[in-house]
Subunit: 495 residues, 2 copies
């Protein structure tokens, strides 16, 4: 692909000057349109060292309002960043709705430099490509426009430019020793780049190849492509998408399995048994925590369930035996206004546990297909595609070595009513009961369908759901602890 490119395309300076001026103006007004239409735009700049990315970048933003874009220079991941899945740091840097984020080098470093310098195992490359494709599709589905450029240079030209840059004091500091390796390993690097271009050129985010031996030509090509992509994205955004009719589903279809109905809610534990098994499990977990720490395994435990099903109590029994420095409990309610400016997964990515720690999620990304679905806070189109996004997200965690355990705390409608009544009476628990709890209760059927759908569609071999019989609190708490222990032990065995 790269060697068939006609690298010698060129442009004379006079034509360039006229065209570039016009393109910069167009970009300026497109930027304003992005702002007004709340269109988010992500630009990726990749390519050979000294291919002219810096100068190009300046032309790109030259007429733009500096308040509406951000530039993210990507360096090799720091030690801190290496404690998370490789996309983690890019999620943190995504531009909010209505603005432009330009990545000067990007997540593709994982498929280029990281491979060249053996920072990624060959066997993991296909998975990394799939991960990147999923990431870009998720953004695109969320309304983000994406343009990706690969600036290509011939070997001779590359060498000439590096030599020249090294001689000039204004640019010499930018030439890294790694850049010279690109000259030495030109063919190898080119093969990696070709493979990357081939496997990550998708419909929503195709690569644009830029012949860069002539910098004028390269700049005009990139800027005019930017104008094209943005114009098209704005046009597309202006067409209202037809919404799928949103008939609330009150009952499961005969073909849909009712996972909740299968749970034996009569299961219970005597107080003595409870104490004994709880104690045993807590001691075990304490020891496992040490191993988790030593082997740098991240653990994600997420809790969903009916109101008053005992999430808080179960989490408490779990954290009781953990070192307080080893876990964080993240509670989620409706997204804040800042969080609403990003993809709905953004606020969960931010709180992932680092390697060796526990991240406990009290409510989670499943809100999208549960409360947001039932309450109409997400459009049918949005929550329907969320199943796939969630599966992809969890798969990314798991392939990064994470243990993911997902609990649905189940209880009967009668038991819930009784607990609500108790809370009403008890001044210490009254604060836990809100108007919303009563309202949610009226929608029991809708939630039941949504929960069953979620379990059916997101219970994957690597991240299965565990439904906790919650009518008896003792039973539920021990069950949760023992399930966590089992999952960790299984992971340690494989590790």
């Amino acid at each position: 692909m790269l060697n068939t490119l006609d690298l010698d395309r060129s442009l004379d300076k006079a034509t360039y000057k006229i065209q570039i001026e016009e393109l910069m103006r167009q970009l300026r007004s497109l930027q304003q349109a992005c702002w007004e239409k709340k269109l988010t735009f992500v630009v990726v700049l990749e390519g050979w060292a000294a291919a002219g990315k810096g100068g190009l970048l300046k032309k790109m933003v030259n007429y733009m309002d500096p308040r509406g874009f951000s530039v993210y220079p990507t360096l090799p991941p720091t030690l801190e960043e290496q404690k998370y899945p490789f996309l983690w740091r890019f999620w943190q840097q995504l531009p909010p709705h209505g603005s432009i984020g330009i990545f000067y080098h990007s997540w593709y470093g994982h498929l280029l430099e990281d491979r060249l310098f053996d920072r990624v195992e060959a066997v993991k490359v296909p998975q990394a490509m799939a991960t990147i494709n999923a990431f870009e599709r998720q953004l695109s589905d969320d309304g983000v426009a994406i343009a990706k450029f690969f600036l290509h240079l011939g070997r001779k030209e590359l060498k000439k430019r590096l030599k020249k840059a090294s001689k000039d004091e204004l640019t010499a500091w930018r030439v890294r020793p790694e850049d010279w390796l690109q000259v030495d390993h030109y063919k190898e690097y080119r093969a990696l780049a070709e493979e990357m271009l081939l496997h990550t050129s998708t419909g929503v985010a195709p690569w644009i190849l830029v012949e860069s031996n002539c910098k004028y030509w390269a700049r005009i090509k990139v800027l005019s492509q930017l104008v094209a992509v943005l114009t098209e994205a704005l046009d597309r955004a202006a067409i209202a998408q037809p919404e799928i009719p949103a008939q609330p589903q009150e009952k499961l279809l005969p073909t849909e399995p009712d996972y909740l109905a299968k749970v034996d809610l009569s299961l219970s534990l005597e107080r003595d048994d409870y104490k004994k098994r709880l104690r045993k499990a807590q001691i075990k977990l304490q020891k496992l925590q040490l191993k988790i720490h030593q082997q740098k395994i991240p653990i994600v435990l997420l809790f969903e369930g009916w109101d008053a099903a005992g999430k808080g109590g179960a989490i408490k029994r779990l954290t009781d035996s953990l070192d307080p420095r080893s876990y964080k409990v993240n509670t989620y309610a409706a997204p804040t206004d800042e969080e609403q400016k990003y993809h709905y997964l953004w606020r969960f990515w931010r709180k992932l546990p680092e390697a060796g720690k526990f991240g406990i999620f009290d409510r989670s990304w499943y809100g999208r297909v549960l409360v947001e679905r039932v309450e109409g806070l997400a459009k049918p189109r949005e929550w329907r595609r969320a199943y796939r996004e969630i599966n992809e997200f969890e798969l990314q965690l798991i392939s990064d070595g994470c243990v993911v355990v997902k609990f649905w705390l189940h209880l009967s409608q009668e038991e819930q009513l009784q607990r609500f009544e108790e809370r009403k009476e008890n001044p210490f628990k009254e604060y836990k009961l809100t108007e919303e709890d009563w309202r949610n209760r009226e929608k029991w059927n809708l939630y039941e369908v949504a929960v069953n759908h979620a379990i059916a569609r997101t219970s994957t071999p690597a991240a299965p759901w565990t439904i906790v019989p919650g009518n008896d609190k003792h039973y539920a708490r021990v069950f949760v602890l023992e399930t966590v222990i089992e999952a960790i032990e299984a992971k340690l065995k494989r590790h």
Copy 2:
């Protein structure tokens, strides 16, 4: 101080068991009170290695709801963190209103381990102490309760515990080589600790010394002090503070200098002159940027000014000549709901530039004493103390090596009116003009007083204000650029 402590205070296990249970219960209900009253609580745990901080921590949070507190284990700063003032990373980790943040080791590491291992110059220690005291006072003024514990051990006991911990596989991994240095340099470390305790024990955040040779004694002491501090803070929060009467000031007092009136608004630049000087300044700035990068100097440029005074245009001319990877423009409007859960300086700390880069602030922390004062969004008590907080904040930036340049873009009321009218006519600029601009214009006098007050109280030798004559845009833009250049050159000379 530390050697006069009677380290051999002890407690028998039976008494301990009864008391600790009761204290943990009390902490649980105090935590709930914090949540309800939106009281923020910061706990600092410092002390010798193996002094029992870990076990203590577990008791502290044992009965608490894990959703209402966070634990921050503090390690030596990463390379990334070293690019910012030393308090930067702690600002990021402050607990939001209503919750509890426990720092296991803290900003005091800068006065203990950093000194022991020569990571901080002796000459900078007094400044660091003043910085910490200011930080804690700022939090306290914002309604945050603070408790700081220093767990003290005798040298013999320290050695014994480290030996014991090293032998047990469950604890051995926690003993760091540095911990043994505490034994070897016991006296030196103790002297540093004493100095720290002496100089950072303030009225709002006194140190509590904990004799820790007996762990039962230590835990009871810490927990009962926590109960005492929290109870008192909640009592204090319940008493409504008398508000200073808030008579809006329409005119400066005869004794108050009118800085704005002194500005010569007739200053202007011919188009040719403008182009020449702009070009010259931009080239110069480009060269300076390289030096800034090489010498790792952070630059903060902040822009305040009347609506339509030309902030955007001035920022644009500045960024035009910079490498887009070297700066970020941060725009501020009303705080988001997330930002409102923290001290008002929090959202600015988050966006400070790292060493070697430009942080450009389009509106800034001066909002507190300008728009928030005039519009009544901050209480008189709050904006009055903000002058001092701002001076302290900027001093911290400057002593970290930062260049701080502050611009007020000034123009006459007539010129503003004319620009508003132009914007109304021009479809490309119309979006810039809002209802709010007209409303602000009616409050010109109030703003004039507020701006003069701000300039008088926050124009410090290290971070002076620059008032930009803005009736002529050409003049203003060149003036801004040349001022920035001057400030950077002055810094490089001193560097």
